[in-house]
Assembly symmetry: C2
Homo-oligomer: 212 residues x 2
């Protein structure tokens, strides 16, 4: 009748478990990944793994929180000390992008497997994600107040940024044509300046806007 939590055994091993689990879940999806799969990847049996975890859902929940911790530490906190707003936005995009390409898993899982959580867990994760989203949007609002933002909806802009960044995990491969740094740089460029060349100097053969 003890409601005790089993007490965290060896924080070191636990991190290994999270990392291994994240990688497999990322590749096969949460539902398609059995607890056995994760255990075997760690050279264990299922019962052995259950020594460390309290259930499959709770494992997922922990991994997600781990990912959000990374996001806070490597993106939001450092960004907080950047005064210049445009530079701060640039940093957020680039460092978040790097986290997606470099880290294997935890953050991307955040994005894909929300439905697998229990309602209470889902609410907590959603709240943390919301906090991140809000500070991104705040930066955009600040930019607007300074007159540096284009005429776009800040919410749509913030989501579009996240879309570009999170999508990275689906196409960027290590050892591909673009390094992690280059990929992050490309995202920054596209997000801040768009794809089309600004038609400032010497209108080249008269571009027309075609509607419909």
């Amino acid at each position: 009748m003890k409601a005790q939590k089993k007490s965290a055994p060896s924080n070191e091993r636990l991190a290994e478990i999270y990392r291994a689990a994240a990688q497999i879940i990322l590749r096969k999806g949460y539902d398609a990944t059995s607890v056995n799969d994760i255990a075997n990847a760690l050279g264990m049996t299922k019962a052995g793994l259950y020594h460390y975890i309290n259930g499959k859902k709770e494992l997922l929940f922990d991994i997600m929180n781990f990912g959000l911790d990374e996001l806070d530490e490597e993106v939001l906190t450092p960004a907080g000390s950047i005064e210049d707003t445009a530079a701060r936005l640039r940093f957020i995009i680039a460092s978040h992008a790097r986290l997606v390409t470099r880290g294997q898993g935890a953050i991307t899982i955040l994005v894909d497997e929300m439905t697998a959580l229990a309602p209470a867990q889902s609410r907590k994760i959603t709240r943390r994600k919301r906090a991140y989203f809000d500070s991104l949007r705040d930066t955009l609002n600040e930019l607007r107040a300074e007159g540096k933002l284009c005429d776009v909806d800040v919410t749509a802009a913030a989501f579009s940024l996240l879309g570009m960044i999170n999508w990275l995990s689906r196409w960027h491969r290590q050892g591909g044509a673009l390094t992690e740094e280059q990929a992050a740089e490309q995202i920054v460029k596209i997000a801040l300046h768009g794809l089309l060349r600004a038609e400032t100097s010497a209108p080249r053969r008269g571009l027309r806007v075609v509607k419909s």
Copy 2:
């Protein structure tokens, strides 16, 4: 020993089934959706539904192809007859975005549930997706040849576009602050011109470029 395919019964009902299944799968995920869930949503039993489908995976495969058909018909084919390259790009982005926000499901499932397919099916879908991606990239290359594209990697640009567009399904809600049209328009704006104000005509109170 008949290898016969059971022959498609009533093309009408089949479309209803695809649509209902797509909605549920979109909400709960493929693995978490049981065949029973889909059957019940259609007012049937599982065995009843199996009169129409040949298996859960094949149903998913069919839905994905249905989504790709939509994409071809409503985006790629009309786009093919637009001469002006920039206008074509604009059209592709906007119409694809509208398809994501308006249609409920088939296209988004394409994106999320690839791992659930059998290898042979997965290859076929990947090939079709690849074809779509290539024509998007072709448009960008054409734009580059015309000197209208910024200095960005075309592959990264194409993927970033898809990221923004596909992400729409995660945040845009019917009846929300932005209509489908407005959301699509925002995506187009951000993708083509970026977030930061171009510092061309009449520097409004002295905008500076901030580096680093």
